[in-house]
């Protein structure tokens, strides 16, 4: 699997650890990332707040380059993803605007590019089974709030790889890594985005609510796939704690960082030492707890095995002691069988439709069986059902075949 790679402007700056762990993720899972030749900034929010045509032309220049590679283009940043998906949508569905974009770029566009997100690749293209197979240090006992934010799941018509209200792709990946993905209500609420910088009076309360809900829902950390969400949740967490006089102490991770660590990377290689909220200690705690959980599970399994062995030995001893009286255990076994037969008889008499459906797969044939059950057949079927369900099914089918034959004869 190979993708054109659009790292986005943050991958060398504020989101440097996202870029680092992305490369590690690709290497671990065995997919190739080929950086897009001389790519440019997508214009982000500033672009679409200022000029519509410019906001489409900037990502379209990258799409023109990506088209030529013939590969899908992966971008880790949620905002870059959204802007490129948006431009793709316009190029494919709005011929008038496409023409204008081409004039601005002085390039022709085929409209064949496909921008994909890392969550889509991990959960849908690689799959959680393949990921789980690479895990060497499972994140057992980690309590993670999977935070999707806005642009990975909205607008629905542009994204579409996951549910807009209760997305699951990241939850599935985290579970594959061994972690608990907690249920919480703010997984797609906005973190405040650029508002936290340009209008803190608006952005700060938004950021505060996301942190607060994660904490109250039992999360011990938040996992994200967006560099701006990371910047806000991580770098500005201390400021929010001070402003709202509430302690969160929630380490924030990129999903790619945790994947790398769970697959054996040193946290430093994944870039976890570059966070603002201390994030290495929690990984250590998880490691200790995971080891304890593993030891406890092994101990419980050993105890259960010993108990079972003891029980088997006792049963053997008992059987040996009573070996002279062979008839007794047999008689004991037939008693519940009689009860079973009676129960099946009652069921066949009271609910012939339901029981017939259990015995015969074809609904039309099952109906024939249900309408032709008499006392004799019920007695026969109940006895067979109590001893061997497969035989009962065969007998039931034979009844239907006989019935059909009888009806056919009459018609003749």
């Amino acid at each position: 699997m190979k993708f054109a790679y659009y790292p986005g402007c943050s991958a060398d700056g504020s989101g440097i650890e996202y870029g680092m762990s992305m490369e590690r993720t690709a290497k671990i899972l065995g997919f190739e990332l080929e950086e897009l030749e001389d790519w440019n900034c997508c214009g982000a929010t500033s672009g679409h707040n200022t000029d519509q045509l410019l906001s489409l032309a900037l990502p379209a220049r990258n799409l023109a380059i990506a088209e030529k590679t013939g590969m899908s283009m992966m971008t880790p940043c949620a905002a870059c993803y959204s802007r490129h998906r948006h431009a793709e949508h316009v190029i494919q569905h709005d011929p008038e605007m496409k023409k204008k974009i081409e004039l601005v770029l002085e390039k022709e566009l085929q409209g064949t590019s496909e921008t994909v997100s890392i969550l889509d690749i991990l959960a849908n293209k690689i799959g959680t089974e393949a990921i789980a197979a690479k895990v060497t240090n499972p994140l057992t006992t980690m309590k993670a709030a999977c935070y999707y934010g806005c642009l990975l799941v909205r607008p629905v018509g542009l994204t579409g790889f996951d549910d807009a209200e209760d997305p699951q792709t990241m939850d599935k990946v985290m579970k594959a890594l061994g972690a608990d993905a907690i249920e919480w209500s703010h997984k797609t609420e906005c973190c405040g985005a650029a508002m936290v910088t340009s209008r803190p009076d608006v952005g700060n309360p938004m950021l505060y609510r996301v942190l607060k809900d994660a904490k109250e829902s039992g999360a011990e950390c938040i996992v994200t796939a967006c560099p701006l969400c990371m910047l806000n949740l991580d770098m500005r967490q201390a400021g929010i704690e001070k402003k709202f006089k509430e302690k969160f102490d929630l380490p924030i991770y990129y999903v790619t960082e945790l994947l790398a660590v769970a697959c054996g990377d040193d946290p430093k290689t994944a870039g976890i030492n570059k966070h603002f909220v201390e994030a290495g200690q929690y990984l250590q705690t998880v490691k200790v707890r995971a080891a304890e959980a593993k030891a406890a599970a092994e101990k419980a399994a050993a105890e259960a095995a010993a108990k079972a062995k003891e029980k088997a030995a006792a049963a053997q001893a008992k059987a040996a002691g009573k070996s002279t009286d062979k008839a007794k255990p047999e008689a004991a076994a037939t008693e519940p069988d009689l009860k079973k037969i009676e129960a099946f008889k009652t069921a066949l008499t009271k609910n012939p439709d339901k029981m017939a459906a259990k015995l015969v797969d074809d609904p039309a044939r099952a109906e024939i069986l249900a309408t032709t059950l008499d006392e004799k057949r019920i007695a026969k079927l109940a006895q067979l059902m109590a001893s061997d369900m497969e035989k009962a099914k065969k007998a039931a089918n034979a009844f239907v075949t006989a019935e059909l034959k009888k009806q056919g004869d009459c018609q003749d």
């Binding site: 402007c9 943050s10 060398d12 700056g13 504020s14 440097i16 001389d38 790519w39 440019n40 900034c41 214009g43 982000a44 929010t45 500033s46 672009g47 679409h48 707040n49 200022t50 000029d51 519509q52 045509l53 410019l54 032309a57 900037l58 220049r61 204008k100 004039l103 601005v104 770029l105 002085e106 806005c150 642009l151 909205r154 607008p155 629905v156 807009a164 209200e165 797609t188 609420e189 906005c190 405040g192 985005a193 650029a194 508002m195 910088t197 340009s198 209008r199 009076d201 608006v202 952005g203 309360p205 938004m206 609510r209 770098m235 570059k274 966070h275 603002f276």
Partner: protein, 189 residues
Amino acid sequence: MDLAIKLSPATEDQKTLLAKVEKEAGTSVNLCYQCGKCTAGCPAAFAMDYPPRQVIRLLQLGMIEQALQAESIWICASCETCSARCPRGVDIASLMDTMRRQALKQGKADKRVAAFNKAFLSNVKNFGKTYEAGLLLRYNLTTGQLFKDMELGLPMMIRGKVGVLPERIKAREEMKKIFERAEKLGGDE
């Protein structure tokens, strides 16, 4: 905000402007039946003068000037929750976006947001990429908030999250031309 308003039929100018905004946004305000689901889900509604539903109502009534002057359009964080949830399929987020651009053209933009956007795009025009450190510095200078977020600058540098120099792409000339042509063609309408 005026609590009582005198309604009169929309003028031709108002109708023309509204039609232009609707076309650019790719949606119609007349689809809205004022249920308020957009406002209920809006994470920034608490700070708005006119929450999303009321902005749409202003547009329905032809009061587009009031809508363009509303602080709300600059408080909208473009999170797209309203559009995702609207039972009538009104693309409210796209309308907000279009109105921001319209307000900018009319010189009615929120100064801080406009300054940030200008600084950001100037980076892209000159380097082809965003230079985060330069961007914040320039933003602080133009808005007169010299020491805003200063406490975060050094820790960012220590963590290797600030480039010393802006990264530049090769096609810088091409970028400048894209900006120029977009401005020219965008202004044709």
